[in-house]
Symmetry: C2
Subunit: 261 residues, 2 copies
């Protein structure tokens, strides 16, 4: 019963934040009933180590959060750790960016690439009502959430974005979202406070079936061919960051909720 | 006063563990006096995030642990988190190794590369009396510690090592230590319980001045030319793992104490 109340409370919180989104969110509340949202000490220790293994890519490909780690992932995402880890990544990004620009590494067209989901925008309100990654990705309900276009900014990413623009970086957004989601994505970015990006690159029909690594590497190569010098790249998946050509420095943002190859 | 007692207690513990090593250890006990070994909540939060940024390579090159994180690094290394993080990395390594071998990926000469320091052997007893990374690397005192040849095994690495040998992997040790340290390194590996490695590769005079990435990549290329298929690579530094050719899968072991480029 307590479990049900918690789920309802989370759903209610999202409905407050995202007026009009109830029909979308209601269909994804079927969290596995075996999940306990209390965290035992043993689970906390294991799940902290599991999260680290995801962040370092030791975990390799995975489909869902381990059942015993649902509560830990939720506590991480809702607590101060996620915000702190994101803020430290942003601070390190800015320190590098300022130094690289000062040393002339960026040439005439210094650029910074950002991924969108869990990098500029947070889908935590969606995952809060869909089991924090315990369930496999549901494209239908996630696409409906994308169309609502009310995902909030990750605060530390918005701050970094504005600081990089202030330094003179060209900001390029490179997302696995589809061209069919261009309008919703632009609306959501503006809603969240992002402005004046140089380009927003989405998957075309010809990109369907490519891995994120292949698709994103090809687009980075195309940007370099256009004359951009990609000094930095921020993403929550290693598939945002690896593959040639790579940015001079890549910054891995935390994401214990899902994996994209 | 309490601070001094703690340092003395740590030194005493090491002397018990490493009989005869007192002359080596006594010279590295000059921990900065400004260090407090208590961890405030704010420092704990920041330092956990800093450690994550080291493990994901977001931090980039660094010379010493931030002053405010000395106590946090010590608590991490001495507590259950370091052991747990290392054990999860080892379990993920073994799961991959078994699956890769079963699928025939390893060919006739499947190999696994291990780094030595903070991978097979733990230098925590040395760092316990030299400030847990708050001070810059002291080659003289570290080399003296290496000559003592009494560093213990990382328990989860020793277990993985034996399991990989049981599966039929060729075990190759690739370390940044010098050929001058071959005897001490072999003695220490045997002392710690490691046996029957295929090769132990150390830096030759011609490798001096190379970065770890360059030196280790060259040696992985040489191993591949000899016919080894490097399925896995375990190391506590990204410089153990990146650079071409890479292993099929690389496993980053935790190390918040020092950085090697």
């Amino acid at each position: 019963m307590r479990r049900i109340l918690l789920v309802l409370a989370a759903a209610a919180a999202v409905v407050v934040a995202v007026a009009g989104a109830e029909p979308v969110l209601r269909q994804v509340t079927d969290v596995p009933t075996a999940v306990s949202w209390g965290v035992s000490d043993a689970d906390a220790l294991f799940c902290d180590s599991w999260r680290l293994s995801v962040e370092t890519a030791n975990a390799g490909p995975w489909r869902t959060v381990p059942a015993r780690c649902g509560a830990s992932v939720r506590a991480y995402m809702e607590g101060e750790r996620y915000a702190s880890d994101s803020a430290v990544a942003a601070a390190e990004s800015l320190a590098f960016a300022a130094q690289a620009l000062a040393s002339g590494e960026g040439g005439a067209m210094p650029a910074w690439v950002f991924d969108v989901d869990e990098t500029l925008l947070s889908n935590a309100p969606y995952y809060a009502v869909s089991g924090w990654g315990l369930q496999e990705f549901n494209e239908t309900s996630f696409d409906a959430w994308v169309d609502v276009a009310k995902a909030p900014a990750l605060p530390s990413s918005l701050k970094l974005y504005n600081e990089l623009q202030g330094l003179g970086f060209h900001i390029i957004l490179l997302t696995g979202r589809s061209e069919l989601q261009r309008n919703a994505t632009e609306d959501n970015l503006l809603f969240a406070g992002y402005n004046s990006w140089e380009k927003l690159i989405l998957r075309r029909i010809s990109d369907i079936g490519k891995t994120a690594v292949q698709y994103k590497s090809e687009r980075r190569a195309a940007m370099e061919a256009e004359g951009f010098k990609i000094l930095g790249n921020s993403g929550d998946q290693w598939s945002d960051l690896i593959g040639l050509p790579m940015a001079t420095r890549s910054f891995k943002l935390p994401n214990p909720m899902y994996f994209i190859s």
